[in-house]
């Protein structure tokens, strides 16, 4: 299948169409919003299920196999916020806090985008390393911390690193994700089987429902588009493409398969909008949330979901051949 055909398949998947439904509902001011508690519960379910699946796969993997991909994950997790910060400061003329806050989002990872990449590959029967979701857990935290650290060094003071560390590590998304990985690892693939009918099989359905709500939330953010300015809108599309290309290359160099490199590229290209906003709001209170939320949630997320994932797949294919 050529890349355009894959793009078409992705755009007509229930996930992406569900997201579009949410966007549509927001634009026509329709009544579609899930109750907050339901949204949180599905979010928790998705995070824990991803962790559990990754942990179970990890239990079948040797340390040697994951050593290089893990190192690569930590490396890009550190490099990307630094790169983004430099670009936002120099070219975008953002202040220290705003640049660091946006960099934290792009350094961290969007779990939903990551998951969508897995579903995309499953749909075309491309296999990938099952332990990728354990790598996601490694990528979530460093990006946020590095960016907050940059702001601290650049502004000589400000946020306490200990407090931010506590915020990120004990945040709901990290506890569920890392907790899921550990439980999956300890229980092993056999041990996870009895709970698979709940945590594995209905997963894609739950993701689709969640994406309807995400469409609504992302479209709600579009009202701030004018306030964020042209540079940031461009950044929110170009940065993921560059990060994705970088991710595809580094993932391949770390020995990942074509599917694995595609997921790795997607992870690296994605921008957090669950863990990072909360941590950044506390650590960098003077950064304007309109900048980091609008760019990561209203632009980068829909871009990755629709065009980005097939694009990173094409990058990975090109590098692999």
């Amino acid at each position: 299948m050529d890349s355009l055909e894959l793009l078409r398949l992705n755009l007509t998947s229930p996930m992406v169409l569900g997201f579009a439904l949410g966007v549509f509902a927001a634009l026509v001011k329709g009544d579609l919003k899930l109750p907050d508690a339901v949204h949180s519960a599905i979010g928790a379910y998705l995070l824990f299920a991803i962790g559990l699946k990754g942990g179970a796969e990890l239990s079948k993997t040797t340390i040697d196999t994951i050593l290089l991909p893990t190192t690569a994950t930590l490396l890009v997790g550190t490099a990307i916020p630094i790169l983004c910060y430099a670009v936002l400061r120099r070219l975008g003329k953002f202040g220290i806090s705003d640049a660091a806050a946006i960099a934290a989002h792009y350094g961290s990872v969007s779990i939903v985008t990551f998951t969508a990449a897995g579903v995309y590959l499953d749909a075309q029967h491309t296999t990938y390393e099952g332990y990728m979701s354990a790598l996601v857990a490694f990528l979530e935290v460093p990006g946020i911390l590095v960016a907050i650290l940059i702001a601290r060094v650049a502004s000589k003071g400000g946020a306490s690193i200990r407090e931010s560390l506590h915020e990120v590590l004990t945040g709901r998304s990290n506890l569920l994700l890392v907790g899921g990985v550990l439980i999956g690892l300890l229980a092993g693939a056999e041990g996870v089987k009895p709970v698979a009918p709940f945590f594995v099989d209905p997963f894609r359905g739950a993701l689709t429902l969640f994406l309807i709500d995400m469409g609504l939330i992302a479209a709600g953010r579009l009202r701030d588009l004018k306030r964020v300015g042209g540079f940031l809108v461009g950044f929110a599309i170009v940065a993921p493409m560059i990060n994705g290309a970088l991710g595809a290359a580094i993932g391949t160099a770390a020995g990942l398969s074509l599917g694995g490199a595609t997921i790795f590229a997607t992870m690296v290209a994605s921008a957090s909008y669950i863990a990072a906003p909360v941590a950044v709001r506390i650590a960098l209170p003077d950064a304007n949330p309109a900048f980091y939320l609008t760019s990561s949630l209203a632009i980068t997320f829909p871009f990755n979901l629709t065009v980005g994932i097939p694009l990173y797949h094409a990058f990975a294919k090109w590098i692999h051949s």
Binding site: I217, D224, I274, P277, V278, R281, I282, P285, L293
Partner: protein, 111 residues
């Protein structure tokens, strides 16, 4: 201030005048605000998840909503609390805080 006592024993109706401080804030601040309320001398608090709109449209994660924290405290504690909020939270966060005088039954529990 003491209320009228009827046929019921006076103890059950005795009220004390206290201040009720109400804080409405973005929910990322929940644990910090509770710690602050306790630290400045409140004996307890009540928290509700709320929705609303104000001058700051933007939330850190708007789908996580706002919280409303209420606490019954002596006037001195209320003043310290409002001053502390004004200094540390008003500049950067969406926070509304106000105090009103209330008559509290069994008020001695709160001061």
């Amino acid at each position: 201030m003491h209320s009228r006592s009827g046929s019921t024993p006076e103890d059950e109706f005795r009220t004390v005048e206290l201040e009720r401080v109400t804080i409405v804030a973005e929910s990322v601040l929940e644990s910090r605000l509770i710690a602050l309320v306790r630290e400045l001398g409140a004996r307890g608090w009540t928290l509700t998840e709320v929705r609303g709109e104000g001058s700051r449209g933007v939330r850190a994660s708007e789908w996580e909503g706002n919280v409303k924290i209420e606490t019954l405290v002596p006037k001195a504690v209320a003043d310290r609390l409002l001053a502390s909020l004004a200094r540390d939270y008003f500049p950067h966060y969406a926070v509304v805080a106000y105090a009103d005088r209330v008559r509290v039954v069994r008020g001695e529990k709160y001061s």
